[in-house]
């Protein structure tokens, strides 16, 4: 069973569209994250949720809106997509804030045309 799963794995869309990426973890972790990996492979945190509550919100355009319906799920919705949003988005989870290993999903490659 996949511990952290994301869907879809690939997403190709036009500028201006709205898209969502879903993430689920079955590890029983309390904390989930979204990371963005750019074309130079640099990984940067975007959001962090602990028990459905937002605890980290890095400098991310407000076109990006995370939603956590429960502690096992953290979805990412992106409005009005721009070319610069093209990247690989990784979901991750850890046992608790500041504790335990970070486990990543397989990534979702978003291409904006």
């Amino acid at each position: 069973d996949t511990a952290v799963s994301q869907t879809p794995k690939y997403l190709v869309t036009q500028m201006g569209n709205d898209k969502s990426i879903k993430c689920e973890q079955n590890l029983g972790h309390d904390t989930m994250y979204w990371y963005k990996q750019d074309s130079k492979k640099f990984l940067k945190i975007m959001f962090s949720y602990n028990n459905k509550e937002l605890i980290i919100n890095e400098t991310v355009p407000n076109r990006f809106s995370p939603k956590s319906p429960d502690k096992a799920h953290l979805n990412l919705h992106i409005n009005s997509l721009e070319l610069g949003d093209s990247a690989v988005y990784f979901c991750a989870s850890s046992q608790d804030v500041g504790r335990g290993e970070l486990f990543f999903g397989e990534g979702s490659r978003l291409t904006v045309l």
Binding site: S48, I56, G98, L102, G107
Partner: protein, 113 residues
């Protein structure tokens, strides 16, 4: 914020060779992890090692927290070891209630047969 520097940025090895990857960080840390991103883009946990030494098969890691560095050793390298190796740290003073792994830029390893 904390600075994480990995060296070398690129490494080419003949299959069977040994190598050492280094991660320097600029401030005290709670946690340190090593990840391998394989050529398919998956981020795989290698070690969760805020201090001390751990071994897992042909790989081992050592973190000397007081001197702010960590080393990843790969022995008898195989072509499947190719990919990018990331070090990530959680600063000791990342703020109340936050857990923010900061990634280095990675070491790209190519193992040739």
């Amino acid at each position: 914020g904390i600075q994480v520097e990995q060296s070398p940025p690129d490494l080419i090895l003949q299959e069977g060779a040994n190598s050492t990857l280094r991660c320097n960080f600029s401030d005290s840390v709670n946690n340190l992890q090593w990840f391998h991103q394989n050529p398919w883009g998956q981020l795989i946990n290698l070690f969760y090692i805020p201090s001390g030494t751990k071994q897992n098969g042909r790989l081992s890691a050592t973190t000397v927290a007081t001197e702010r560095y960590s080393l990843l050793y790969i022995s008898s390298s195989q072509t499947t070891d190719s990919g990018v190796y990331f070090c990530a740290v959680d600063p000791l003073y990342s703020g109340a209630g936050s857990y923010q792994l900061t990634f280095g830029k990675g070491t790209k390893l190519s193992v040739i047969p």
